[in-house]
Symmetry: C2
DNA sequence: TAGATTGTTAATCGATTAACAATC
DNA sequence: TAGATTGTTAATCGATTAACAATC
């Protein structure tokens, strides 16, 4: 099983490919060429072929790609042939919104636990799941198979929370705080940050640097 | 005013630099070297100096960088010496959470309008702002100085909504839907996507491709 | 002055694009 | 078979890193 390390740039494009193919499939499109894909996705056809060939190539000369097959293969690479259990820690406005967000379940990510330290929230039910106290977090993580933890606690609590979960064996974090978990947690732990502030800042940069 | 185009990779790092410097400033740190920055931010010292030198260089040989000055200069580049007006369109769970999110206001982004099509929501007040009907969106955008629109409507409405706002002169969009606004809207319009699904997908990829 | 650390040029590395032979 | 389009190699482009002279 000799793998030639696949670059992060390629990986990062996979979800986008997947989503687009899923849509094509829904529309009943059967085949598509790299050129057509490139027009729809605003990348070069060459790049698309290169990307796919990192994984062995899923097409056929003279034909192109079978939409359904390509979708499934990319899904497998991402790991979408499995389901994942998520917990959300910190049921503030954002945590609550994520608990209700249908997109996760629709794609195979089930939320199986919600946690907050506020006694007023503990016991309330969101989307059929009761909020548990943060003191139960450790035991819950130890007793259940949790794949991904969504961190929505206040920034000051983020590292402590994540570290506890790492101890209990959780390896993947979706981080909505400004804490730099990636740098602070041990190697082999995966962190994806959603830095909402950074995102709007990039918009103001663009607004200020376009008027020429 | 000869500008040598600054690469997006550099721009994308600016918010992170800014946030870290802001924190250093709060802690009372006065000066810092590129080497110290590189340790804290997990990039090379060389890259940090390169990045800053795209804008002329803010340091001093033998001394390093003055934290406050550097923070202010990067802030100016991002455009944080100004304030911005935002509107949020689509007050579902996510839209509501964003309306209550303090991070925006804390960084100079004021939310001045909320819009939804659901009559039950219209008139309700979130964070001192009354939700308006979506039918008022066009006139509101025309009558007020709106810099950034946050798109939280259902995906099927996203392009229509954004197009209307483009007509009214809005140039920057923060997009929480899966719609590919970037590709569909005219040139010169800035879109930042927050694809929550893509983010968790990258975590499942990592989970599946680490166990060696 | 000597030491430190930047600014900046040159070297390296990696990712994207171009081109075309392979082949369906 | 002829046409189409991939898989794949080679060329280009851009971003990161290394190195060091400039200078505070």
């Amino acid at each position: 099983m000799e793998k030639k390390e696949i670059s992060r740039a390629v990986i990062n494009r996979l979800p986008r490919y997947y989503r687009f193919l899923k849509e094509l499939e829904k529309e009943g499109v059967e085949r598509i060429s790299s050129l057509e894909l490139s027009r729809a996705l605003d990348v070069t056809a060459s790049q698309i072929r290169q990307d796919f060939n990192n994984f062995g190539g899923f097409g056929q000369q003279g034909y192109g790609y079978n939409v359904q097959h390509l979708k499934e293969e990319i899904g497998k690479i991402i790991g979408l042939d499995q389901c994942y259990n998520m917990i959300i820690v910190g049921i503030g406005n954002l945590g609550k919104a994520l608990a209700k967000y249908p997109g996760f379940a629709n794609n195979g990510y089930s939320t199986i636990g919600l946690f907050d330290s506020d006694p007023a929230k503990i016991g309330t039910v969101i989307n059929d799941i009761a909020v548990r106290g943060i003191d139960e977090l450790g035991s819950f993580a130890a007793d259940n198979e949790v794949d991904i933890a969504v961190i929505c606690v206040p920034r000051t609590e983020a590292l402590k929370t994540a570290s506890l979960l790492v101890e209990k064996g959780i390896k993947a974090f979706m981080n909505f705080t400004q804490a730099d978990l990636e740098h602070e947690l041990p190697d082999g732990i995966f962190v994806q940050n959603v830095y909402l502030i950074d995102t709007v800042m990039l918009l103001s940069y663009d607004l200020n640097n376009s008027k020429k």
